[in-house]
Subunit: 237 residues, 2 copies
């Protein structure tokens, strides 16, 4: 599995979203050709992406939407509960905390953290906003898997480091700066992007969410409307 | 140009983001191999994606970061001003309005719209929140190109339709429902996803931003950390 490109994982997420749409439209079966058209890639690409993870569907018979969806949910690790803390509870952090859909995939918000005296102690989504200083103990005591970063750009590096030091396994960065891809940079002491957990070393994964990418795609398609696949899915964020 | 896959446009956006990072690191030259590694695709894919739009760089010499960046900015249509209205000025809409970076690419927020009596009339980012009923006149009078949708899911379809009826050329949908890909569905009278503008018909482009995609990628990489390319860029939103 060590040669699966990042783009293939993004496409798997797109295929899953398409399967959810098909299920919503009560369409029971699909094919690599159908998925390819909706995803704006080739049918060969779809089959190749899926082949990394096993053989789904029956040759010449296509795929059962419900079964392929279940398989992709399993492959993507969405069949387990993920405990999430949000660091930064300003407009963006509150928008994320209140954004519907995360719970569909067992992303559970268990803690909210900030440094602002106006926010610490406040209730958001039945959770009390805690001070960032409590992060490390909280992550340990609550088996936190992921941290979502929604702090101002100038705070992102330190907040990400605090999440890494607290021991989260992954960071989803909504702040408008690039962090990672494995560990916040500029901390030579952290070096390899790994940290000791018991006896083994493991990477802290960082995914950056780019709000501007959608704006850029939109600008392109407004100027080139004929290139917009009318059957295409939403482009994944 | 009628066969450029949607995925290629998303990759162009990724390449541009990588070039911005390289420029930030004062790296003056790159190559299809370097871009490919950072984007998690093949060098052939990079060359193929770029070849849709012309010949950049010199054979065997790679690319000048600044020049390729400028070309991609032009190709993506980011070298012009885009007048944007935001519909929905709750937490998410305000987070978008205040998210840094949009102005770097001449996305100019010229109007904010909502239906809530608590919001209409309020000042956000030096703009007065207007009632959605004023949208049509405002779009016409202010040469609005794009509408960003940040309304609750149950309002998204109607709000998108209001933007289309007002005459915007594209919609970036942040609401947690899929709209489009060309026009809000469920309006048979709108049918083809086109509307009359003067004598010609043109499509209204819709891009959907999927907050959950990043969460799903993160879940996968936490379970498969060795697959995470340590040199990879942030995955585009």
């Amino acid at each position: 599995m060590s040669e699966i490109p990042t783009a293939a994982i993004s496409r798997l997420v797109t295929y899953l979203r398409i399967l959810e749409q098909l299920e919503g439209q009560e369409i029971a079966r699909t094919s690599s050709t159908d998925l390819a058209e909706r995803a704006g890639v080739s049918a060969f690409q779809v089959r190749k992406d899926l082949a990394y993870f096993g053989r789904f569907g029956t040759r010449g018979m296509g795929y059962t939407v419900a079964l392929l969806k279940r398989e992709l949910v399993r492959v993507l690790g969405l069949n387990q509960t993920w405990n999430v803390v949000i660091v930064g509870v300003g407009r963006l952090g509150q928008a994320i905390a209140n954004y519907p859909g995360a719970s569909d995939y067992q992303f559970q918000y268990v803690g909210l953290f900030d440094v602002s005296p106006e926010l610490v102690g406040r209730q958001v989504r039945q959770l009390t906003v805690r001070h960032i200083d409590e992060l490390k103990d909280f992550v340990r005591d609550n088996k936190v898997d992921m941290g979502f970063l929604a702090v101002p750009p100038e705070r992102a590096q330190d907040a990400a480091q605090a999440l890494v030091d607290a021991g989260v396994r992954g960071i989803l960065n909504f702040a408008p700066v690039v962090i990672g891809p494995r560990l916040p940079e500029g901390r030579p002491s952290e070096g390899s992007g790994q940290q000791e957990i018991g006896d083994e070393w493991r990477a802290v994964i960082v995914e950056n969410v780019d709000f501007l990418a959608g704006m850029k795609r939109l600008a392109f398609y407004i100027r080139n409307p004929l290139l917009k696949d009318p059957t295409g899915p939403e482009t994944p964020a």
